[in-house]
Every structure is written in C-alpha cells, then in structure tokens.
Symmetry: C2
Subunit: 356 residues, 2 copies
C-alpha cells in the first residue's frame, strides 16, 4: 500500500499533516513518501510537476494531494504555474474519473447560503470526466483568424473533443456508482449546440442499455446550473464532461456552504487514484493553523475505499468525522455561535481520538 | 420605429400579447409586424427560422421575441429544431452583446432558494458575448479520432475561438455599461486552461486601459459559479464568453427565484436589438393563461431604452411593473400567501393601468 503524499502549497502541508496523522492512527502498514508539487515543486526543482514527483506518483498505488497555488507564482508563464501539476498528474496517470460528492452534513446546514429546506440532507455525486474535452484537445493556441469578418486578426482557439471510448468508460463509472445509490443518473451536455455533446448524449444513451435498472435523464448544462440552485436534492448522480464538470462541481460544492468538508477522488481504469480536498490552497490563511483538514481526511477515507478496498477503515474515518461534528468542534470556516472553535491540529487530533 | 414581433411557441404568444398591449398603451407610433418562428415557423414553413421571418427581422429596427420550443419538435433533427431560430437570428443580425440583468425585486425576495440576506437587493448585469466562441466555431462534427489512445474511434469535436475584435467590442460594451452602474467589471474566463481565454484575458486587460475609472477583476469560471452562490451581490457587471455566459446567466437568473421577471437584450454594433424574456417557452403551462408576462413586458422596456432611446417610456413601463408588484399582484410562478393571484391577461392589464 504505497501512497505518494504531495502536500503542495498554501494550506496544503497543514491539512495533509492531519490526514497523515489519521492514516497513521489506523494501525495499517502504509508506505508513505512525500514529494513537492505545484509552487513548491517549482521553487525546489524549477517545475510544478518535477520529474521525481511524477515518478513517485506513478510508482505509488495512490496519491494523497493537498492543494496547489500561491500568489508568488501567479505571474509565471502558464506552463510553469502550479495548477499545471494537477493537469499533468491527471493526464500522466490516466485519472479520467473525478468523483466529487456534494454532501451537506446536518450539523452544518446553517453554513449554506441556500435555505435549509432546499439543501438539508443534500447528497449528490458529481462525476466529471477528467482527461478529455477542451482541457487537452488539440490544436490550440493563438493564430491568425483564417476567415469570417475578423479574418487576418489574431484569435485564440481550442479544440473540444470526446472519443467514443472516453465517453463509454465515464458513463460506466456513472451507472455503476448510481447502482450503489439511488440508481438515477443525470447526464449533462449541450447537445442542442455542440457536436461533441450530441455525440456524448448518443453514446451515454447507448451505454445505458446495459443498465436498465438505472434511470437516465439528459439535461442541458445551462438548465443543470439552474436546477442545482433551484432544487439540488433532485439529483442523485450527475455525470458530465471536463469543462462543464469543472463549473458544476464547484457550484454544487458551494451549495453546501462548507467546501472545507468535501473530498474528491480522481480514478484511473484500475483502482489507482489521486485524492484531494475539493477546496483550494487558500494562501491567505496558510500557516495560521486555522485551515479545515476534514476534506483532506475524508479524501484519505475515499482512498481507503476506492484504491485499497478497505471499506471498514473508510467507514471508521467517516464516522469519526461525523462524531467530531456532533461534538460541536468547528474550524473557523464552518464555525457558528454555540459551536467550539478549533484549529487545524486540534481538529485532526479530535478525529484521531474519535476513531476509537 | 419598426418592430418585428416573433411570438414563437409555448407561452410565447400569450406573453407577447401582453407586451404588445403595453406598447400600444404608450401612445407612440410603433409599426408592428408579426411572424412565425421556432416550432411555429417549422410547422408553417418547414423551418424554425423561415426566410420571411428572417427578412422581417432584418428590416426591422428591433425584434420582440417570445420563446421557442415545444415537445413535439424535440425529435426533429438538430438543424430543424426550434432553438436553431435563436442561434440563426443572433448570427444573421450580428447580435453579439447579450445583456441579462439579474435583479431581485424586494417584494419577491421570498421566491429565491437563497437566504434573503444573500440575495435581497441583488442587481447584477451579466453581459454574454453571443455570436462567437464554441457556438459557431469551425471545424466541428463527428470524425475518426486522428491520434492518441482512441485513434480510429469516432469522436465528436468542436472549435472554441475568439478573435481580437470580437473580444474588444464586448469588452467595450461591458466597461461602458459599468460606467452607468457601480463601475466594476468582472471578466470571467478559464485562462489557466484555455488558450482562447488567456487571449480573452489579455485583450480585456488591454481594452481596460481606456477605462481607468472602471475597476476590472479577472475571475475563473469555476470560481465565478461559486461566488454567484456564495455572495452574488459582490458583482456589478460580469462579462464573459458565449458558452460560460450561457451557464452563468441562467444560474444568476435562478438565484432570484423569479426568472419570470427577467428580461434580456441582444444588441448589434449599432442600436438594433432582439428583446426576449430570460425564461423559456414553458410548454407545460402554455395556453392556460397563467404565464408571467412581466419579463416580456420588461424586455419591451429594454427595447425602448436601447434601440429607440425612449428612456422616459422605458422608465414608465419599469415603474408600472414595480407598482403592480407593490399592489400585491402575482402570477402563479411568483405567488405567495397574502398576495393576489392573477393570470397573464390580468397582469398585462394591471401594468397598462399602472402606466398612467
Ligand atoms: C486548477 C484548474 C486547472 C483545475 C481545473 O480546471 O480542472 C481546478 O479548477 C479543478 O477543478 O481541479
Ligand atoms: C436554446 C439555446 C441554443 C440557447 C443558448 O444556448 O444560447 C439558450 O440556452 C439561451 O441561453 O438563449
């Protein structure tokens, strides 16, 4: 059970520390090795995804990832900026299936900007394709506009694309995940405008034939964005492409008001995965010991579940998190009058204590 | 003052009737001519945007548009489906600037799924580029995947693109609109991933030099989707591309909980425009006389303001709408206990009465 630990930037190291503490407390024999990534990778080795880090990640069974990005790297050229590490890892490791639960813990219902009745009990799973689409499609760049009213001017351009096999495999992930939940899949596309997503709709419809027990609904992305605000609890599993998934999964996370609680898993075709919190590197609070480590701790639980098949240990962690919430412990991001404000380390310690 | 009136499908004809009633009551000499569009265009002439309709729209100074789409046209091939009429009109008339205010009327704060303190007083303007981006970029289609792990399979593909001049002109629209408001523009892109939107960011930054009095902020689209849910009132003018704008403007509209109240304008380089409600054709309630005509009536007000420069008449309509809301009149979509439920016609009549 080899785990590559990549803390990254900002609050990354602090929250990763707590997740590692929780893993250590389980009494399993994990082999952990740490490496630099993101801005830290650039600072140490001149590249956000240093060769050694990529090698380590490839050799490991799973990657536990903190967060990347910090102000001082904002002005670097794009290829050297921290977030390129994420894109590189996804592509190099073939992590095509991004699973992002948007769950609202009953104790935290007040943290949402939505009315309690709209979000309480929210439990949806967003599955985002992660290695295709306009994120990686070629050609792309800046060129001379070849025709039309702007011919001769410069234009920026990118290529959106999805091959049949790419759509099939993510559709399978969605239908199989739905079977373990409420057996409903909403496939989000823009088939009324985009050829890529008319094709997506056709292929998802075809894959659905193998899952007659699962309900499939197609929804346009603009409507999905509206329904997430209007009645998010109506969704069970939502599956979509890389670009739409980027937008919708963040919107869905924010519905809960407690993005500091939300883990994510990015899986390959076997059981390898990269696990990271849904939130970012929050450089403004880095080093202050106030970051919420729970999303990272819950990401470690997802790792146990998906990569190592250790369901019981995953449950143990998830239950421990529920227990500390029930105890009223809160980091500042989810603090409310009446609850007990704690820092990053205290929260990690409390989860360890609650494992018992 | 020639106006092409295109009622379209579903509730389109009902709501357009009320807007026309209000225009008639102003005592101006508009020349109105009606034509079929969308499913109605297909039913009458075999095409969602019949030649005669396009000709009328081109000859007019402004287009007043209802809504398109109905169940019976869902199974037509894409090129014949109702929404192609919208795309065709935008492109043929060069309507590159889509203005969509998301306003929450104080009387309707309860209709939102968001907490009152998060949305009360909301007044943001989303400016969406409407004739470029991946909506119209070529090449597009389904082909054999040329390379990579899926080589030889079929793939769907589209081209995202923005030429310099396209970005410049929409940026000017945004900065100028901001000057009449709170002088703040948020440009939404995905410059960290897409070449098109790194280019977008560069050009918007350059145009901004001509507007030193306006504040410019750049924001990634995933973050913008989150901030719209977290703290929508922080935005003033939000400008973005066609695809991101499609998603964000619908999300923003839904924040208000009263999309039946929100108008839109789609403008060309001169003062010509197409004006339509932000909501759709709602075929499920078509013909029942319960649709909310206010978004369409407010769209007519935008037409008076932007195309005909009749600010006073536009104000008159907008004030009349405020007055009927203050009187407690509500169509079913915005009805709450204590208010008076009225139908489409009664609402239109009430606005006419309130013009005085
Ligand atoms: C940092 C960025 C490249 C990345 C993405 O767009 O995928 C991020 O927003 C995410 O969702 O993980
Ligand atoms: C109907 C569809 C083509 C259209 C769009 O995507 O632009 C609609 O969603 C809109 O926003 O007006």
């Amino acid at each position: 059970m080899k785990i590559a630990v990549l803390p990254g930037d900002g609050i990354g190291p602090e929250i990763i520390n707590e997740a590692v503490k929780v893993l250590d407390a389980l009494g399993e024999s994990f082999e952990l090795e740490t490496a630099q990534v993101g801005g830290a990778g650039y600072a140490a080795h001149g590249h956000p995804l240093p060769e050694g880090t990529l090698k380590l990640a490839k050799a490991a069974d799973a990657v536990l990832f903190g967060a990347v990005g910090d102000y001082q790297y904002d002005s670097l050229e794009r290829a050297l900026r921290p977030e390129q590490a994420i894109l590189g890892l996804r592509k190099e490791l073939g992590l095509f299936a991004n699973l992002r639960p948007a769950i609202l813990y009953p104790e935290l219902a007040g943290a949402s900007t939505l009315k309690p009745e709209v979000v309480s009990g929210l439990d949806i799973l967003i599955i985002r394709e992660l290695t295709g689409d306009i994120y990686f499609g070629k050609p792309r760049g800046v060129r001379e506009c070849p025709d039309g009213p702007f011919a001769g001017q410069r234009e920026g351009f990118d290529t959106m694309r999805y091959a049949e096999g790419e759509i099939r495999r993510i559709a399978h992930v969605a239908f199989q995940a739905a079977r373990k939940r409420d057996s409903r899949v909403t496939s989000v596309d823009k088939a009324n405008v985009l050829e890529t997503f008319q094709f997506w709709r056709d292929i998802v419809t075809d894959v659905h034939k193998e899952y007659p027990d699962v309900e499939l609904e197609h929804m346009y992305v603009d409507n999905a964005a509206m329904q997430l605000v209007r009645a998010p609890k109506k969704f069970d599993v939502l599956v979509t492409g890389n670009m739409f998934g980027d937008i919708l999964s963040d919107a869905a996370a924010m519905l809960t008001g407690s993005i500091g609680m939300l883990p994510s898993a990015s899986l390959d075709a076997n059981s390898k995965g990269l696990y990271e919190p849904s939130h970012g590197s929050a450089p403004d609070i880095a080093g202050k010991g106030v970051a919420n480590p729970l999303a990272t701790i819950l990401s470690a639980a997802m790792m146990l579940r998906f990569t190592f098949g250790k369901t019981e240990q995953a449950d143990r962690i998830e239950n421990a998190v529920k227990r500390v919430l029930a105890q009223g412990l809160r980091t500042p991001d989810i603090h409310e009058p009446g609850s007990t404000k704690v820092g990053t380390k205290e929260m990690g310690d409390a989860v360890v204590a609650a494992l018992a």
